[in-house]
């Protein structure tokens, strides 16, 4: 246990220490379709940029953002940022891919970034991709050990991107400790329909699920539905640590979330040595791209054995002795 913790702490310290302060002022712009306080997708990126800005000071990192940008509106905002001399323009969402690829030719000296996406972009475009199968796996280990009914529900948005990776990693994590578990994966077809996510969670619970999980901002709707079963042993595993600080947190056993700060720092660092893009930056436990937290307030459901199994999985993933082969998984 101590060894595992020591490895984790060392890696986290290393992850934070890899990047140095920018040599000159960097201007960063963020474009998002949601808002910077959505307690999910948009906020995670915003918080990371603010954290980097706080770390190096406003004199070295200037930051502006544009919210509620549909892909059709985002072009105008991105052009303005590029024309005003912003160094790094991040369009946070795979839906901005075409726009960014188009703008990258128009403004070859500007660094653009979009994600989540595993493709390698042109020479002035970074992409970033959370290896969400890692967080999914750990949550899956916990779910597989917590379930009493043997039925586990996954509330998915669409079967693509990091959500697909998370769900498949979760599936593998459950099966690693509970091969007989029935994992019910379903999708709402939307990233932001909170009501439909709640409806899907209710459907899962009616079908016998006693542990649920879900990704994307809509997941709050599913967690809200789980919280309706106040006195019943129905639990939630989060893909967003902010869920540990909301009133529904009494149902959240543990939660992982993205920390985009290493991605931001990597982009700043690479740009300052002349690499404007052309790389995919992965987010992993190893490079500090994920945060994982238990909820100590849930009581006896989170046993020492579960913590031990989840900690071991996290240590093995971080040390890369556990490879998660998520792609062949078929629900």
């Amino acid at each position: 246990m101590k060894k595992t913790l020591a490895v984790l702490v060392t890696l986290m310290v290393l992850a934070g220490a890899v990047y140095g302060a920018p040599k000159s002022k960097v201007k960063i712009a963020l474009i998002i379709e949601s808002t910077v306080d959505d307690k999910g997708w948009g906020q995670a990126m915003h918080d990371a940029i603010v954290a980097v800005q706080k770390k190096y000071g406003e004199s070295l990192v200037e930051y502006n953002y544009s919210e509620k940008m549909k892909p059709v509106d985002a072009g105008s905002a991105a052009r303005q940022y590029a024309s005003r001399g912003f160094d790094i323009i991040i369009a946070h969402g795979a839906q901005f891919k075409n726009l960014i690829l188009e703008l990258s030719e128009e403004f070859p000296k500007t660094t653009f970034a979009f994600g989540t996406n595993a493709d390698v972009g042109p020479r002035n475009v970074f992409t970033y991709m959370p290896m969400s199968e890692e967080t999914g796996y750990i949550n899956g280990v916990i779910a597989g050990m917590v379930t009493k009914t043997g039925i586990i529900g996954v509330v998915g948005p669409v079967d693509a991107g990091d959500s697909a990776r998370y769900n498949r990693g979760f599936w593998l994590g459950v099966k690693s400790v509970n091969p007989k578990a029935d994992i019910k994966v379903a999708h709402t077809g939307s990233f932001a329909d909170y009501v439909k996510a709640g409806e899907l969670a209710q459907t899962q619970i009616k079908a016998g699920a006693d542990v649920l999980t879900g990704a994307a901002q809509q997941a709050t709707g599913a967690l809200r539905a789980v919280a309706e079963y106040k006195d019943k042993p129905i639990w939630w595993l989060g893909q967003d640590t902010l869920q540990l600080s909301i009133p529904e947190s009494f149902k959240v056993i543990a939660a992982a979330s993205y920390d985009y700060a290493p991605v931001i720092e990597a982009m700043i660092d690479k740009r300052q040595v002349g690499t404007l893009g052309g790389e995919n930056i992965p987010m992993t436990f190893k490079n500090g791209g994920f945060i994982f937290k238990y909820n100590d307030k849930v009581g006896t459901v989170l046993t020492a054995a579960i913590r031990k199994a989840a900690d071991k999985a996290r240590a093995d993933i971080t040390a890369q002795t556990l490879k998660i082969d998520w792609q062949p998984v078929k629900y």
């Binding site: 379903a186 009501v195 709050t220």
Partner: protein, 316 residues
């Protein structure tokens, strides 16, 4: 899960899913019967959802917490009425094109709700909301009890409003006036019916119902508020009025059909039935389009002057 419980779960889930559509659809039926279609229903629902959410959020822990949901519902109806009257001002008095004005109202409601939410509340937040209220004795009836009598009070109210709206529309003098101004406003005008006044009244009632539908989403179904909580349900409600052929019972059947299809597609996915989820999520919408196409061929009983502004000075 066996076949019986599969079907039962669809019914149990489908009934409460239908309520927001039903409440908004009933209001929109009155609007359209009076000759005005209100595409702004979505925006009014967003405002209704937002203002209904505020009392439970801000009054939590105070002596008024027990009444917060009721205050929220009343507030949603008042705000819905005001927005309905605003829409009436634009399309009845100023005779603006109803489609464009409706889209404007939708954007206005969505924008105001989102902006005020961020300013006064912040991020996505839950509220205790309206608790289920099983009907004594009736809720114990096998199958039927679970499907019909084990819900929150708004579910019962919504379904009880169907005969009330039918009665208002087809058995009261005011209902006759509403139908008259939507079918042949010039004749109604010549008989002394004040077309503009009746349309104002209809849009006020329609707005109140849309506000209530939004309140149902934030207080009874999701028990939270978030930007874009309504997510297109206002537009579906407008379509369901055509689907239901401008009749409260037809609208109820449409809302139930859509919601049961929604519960069915979710249950198909959860049951692990080998069916692409992309097609499953489309199922309710495809169903509505197919039935709308079929209804189009059926005898039209709708308001013939729907969408047309009335100008009593205009020569015909």
């Amino acid at each position: 899960m066996n076949g019986g419980s599969f079907v039962l779960n669809i019914l149990i889930l489908g009934v409460p899913f239908s309520v927001a559509l039903l409440l908004a659809g009933l209001g929109e039926t009155i609007n359209q019967r009076a000759g005005v279609f209100n595409l702004g229903c979505e925006g009014i629902m967003a405002m209704g959802a937002f203002v209904a959410f505020l009392p439970p959020y801000f009054l939590a822990g105070t002596s008024l917490a027990g009444s917060a949901n009721l205050i929220g519902l009343a507030l949603a109806m008042v705000v819905g009425t005001v927005l309905g009257l605003l829409f009436a001002l634009v399309v009845v008095t100023f005779r603006a094109p109803q489609g464009i004005a409706g889209i404007g109202l939708q954007m206005l409601g969505w924008g105001i709700a989102g902006t005020l939410f961020r300013h006064y509340v912040g991020g996505v937040t839950g509220v205790p909301g309206i608790a289920p209220m099983p009907i004594p004795v009736l809720s114990k009836i096998p199958v039927l009890g679970q499907v019909l009598f084990n819900h929150n009070p708004l579910v019962y109210i919504a379904f009880l409003l169907v005969p009330v709206f039918w009665y208002i529309l087809f058995k009261t003098p005011w209902g006759l006036k509403v139908r008259a101004v939507g079918t042949y406003p010039r004749a109604a005008d010549s008989l002394g019916i004040r077309v503009a006044r009746v349309r104002y009244q209809a849009l006020a009632l329609g707005g109140a119902m849309a506000g209530l539908a939004g309140a149902y989403l934030s207080l009874a179904q999701a028990k939270m508020f978030a930007d874009d909580l309504v997510a297109g349900r206002g537009f579906i409600a407008v379509a369901l009025v055509y689907f239901g052929r401008w009749h409260p019972v037809g609208v109820m059947l449409g809302a139930l059909l859509f919601s049961l299809a929604q519960a069915l597609q979710l249950s198909i996915q959860v049951a692990g039935i080998d069916f692409p989820y992309e097609f499953a999520v489309m199922l309710p919408y495809v169903l509505v389009i197919v039935v709308l196409a079929l209804v189009r061929k059926a005898r039209m009983v709708g308001p013939t002057e729907l969408g047309k502004p009335f100008d009593r000075e205009q020569r015909v």
